[in-house]
Amino acid sequence: MDVGLALFSGFVYWLSSCKVGYTLESSLGSGLFIGFMFGLFFGDMITGLALGASIQLVYLGMISTGGNMPADNALAAVIAIPIAMKSGLDANAAVALAVPFGVLGVFLDQLRRTSNSIWVRKADELAQKGDIKGIFKCAYIYPEIVIFFLRFVPVFLISLLGTDSVISLIESLPEFIITGFSVAGGILPAMGFAIILITIGKPKLLPYFFIGFFAVQYLGLNNMATAIFGTCLALLVIFEKSKKEA
């Protein structure tokens, strides 16, 4: 049992889900940043970052429409990264280990949003009295206290009691299961990209996806190069369209 790690994991998960800052919260909860934090904790930045990035890729396209989060990538990262770092599991296999926790995290968020109804009701009464300090507490302080208990406590306990048994379980698994996890970890980022295709890809724009895909396959462009070419391509189309409209 590693109390220090459990405390740290609980803290990172609370930080990543504290909901402070509309887009800041997404940065704090990104697999990349969580990988970075565990990299610092274990003094092994390279492994931490590689694990964080691999988990990040699965959740790249995720959008919480109407506040409903489809999966909790922060919980996935917070549980899987320390286990992978301690057991030496490769990054792809860690991804497959992570995703079930991403599903579990959704339930915690549902609990949170259900409990938030209490504060809205309370705010209704306070608004009648014009008590803006009270409304501030309902909008800020009370939900944050709930978040602390919902986020810190479960992860602290899971890390404290579960990490060692998961690691010994992994060590006892047959080879093909570990390979299977790695295969799944290689495929799962496809889901992240498929979701983005659905969100931003009108069917008539899909050729741009294929240009990007094969530019890397055949020409071996790196990501910065594709960002530059992609921006030029997008600007050309914008200029052409606005010329027609003018």
Partner: protein, 274 residues
């Protein structure tokens, strides 16, 4: 601050609202009212400044506790428009509350659509994916790269709030109806799709280790044959297999995750993928 008699709000007031909004948007999100409490809390101190009359003030607070949900960054524009309307109402008493609520609820949907596409569908994945590139090279910049997304959207939202406040509802309505916003979305989608094509090419890895051995002949390495037909065939099949599972079969997120894991286990057991 300004010579216009109807203008009592300063830039500092607007900035206060933006900060109170940005730092608590999703904190109090509940199933029944979503971002309503955050919206009310964001403008509460400014509403106090605007309405000297207690009853009008309380009425305004109750008004902004009504159901509200939009994309937070683009939604800055709604905050701005609402502030300009409340300000006008505080001076002239001529803007009925239903009109303010009507504008809010009328704009929140379309703006959420634009914001989800631009902010969460394009800017975020591109920045995060570039962060992954750095991280996989072992560069610690990758770990803090996501904060670039927070900074860009924080600044953008503040400008959108000022924009909404200065130009008011008519200008925003006009902008939404004009083709400009569609052109911007198309451009962003093209950049996004191009980048996602490139990134998926780098980061989705599916390979087969299958080799057919023959006597007196070179072994057939299946992966080499697939590569000679189309490079990256298996990753593409994975991406579009999942794409069609979502669009045509309407399966859920978790079904896809667990199907991928089970298929991978089976394929790994028989040595088809690895």
């Amino acid at each position: 601050m300004t010579t216009d008699n109807n203008k009592v709000l300063t830039k500092k007031d607007l900035f206060t609202v933006w900060n109170r909004w940005y730092f608590s948007t999703e904190l109090s999100n509940s199933y029944d009212r979503l971002q309503a409490l955050a919206f009310c809390n964001a403008s509460s101190t400014i509403l106090r400044k605007l309405y000297k009359n207690d009853d009008e003030f309380k009425e305004a607070l109750v008004r902004h506790l009504e159901f509200y949900n939009s994309e937070g960054t683009m939604g800055g524009m709604v905050q701005g428009i609402v502030l300009s309307m409340e300000e006008e109402n505080a001076v002239s008493h001529a803007v009925p509350g239903q009109i303010i609520t009507g504008i809010k609820t009328g704009l929140m949907g379309p703006l959420a659509g634009i914001g989800d596409t631009l902010v969460w569908g394009t800017i975020k994945p591109i920045i995060y994916a570039l962060g992954c590139t750095f991280a996989l090279q072992g560069n610690p910049i990758g770990g803090v790269f996501p904060f670039l997304f927070a900074i860009i959207t924080y600044i953008a939202g503040w400008f959108l709030l000022k924009f909404g406040y200065t130009l008011g509802k008519d200008a925003v309505m006009k902008l939404m109806k004009s083709g400009t916003i569609n052109t911007v979305i198309t451009g962003a989608s093209i950049l996004g799709l191009f980048m996602m094509g490139a990134l998926s090419s780098s980061y989705v890895s599916v390979k087969t280790p299958l080799v057919f051995e023959f006597e007196n002949a070179n072994p057939i390495v299946l992966q080499d044959i697939l590569d000679s037909i189309v490079m990256g065939m298996l990753p593409l099949i994975a991406i579009f297999g999942i794409y069609f599972a979502f669009t045509k079969k309407k399966v859920g997120y978790n079904t896809v995750i667990f199907s991928v894991i089970i298929i991978s286990m089976i394929a790994s057991f028989f040595g088809i993928l690895g």
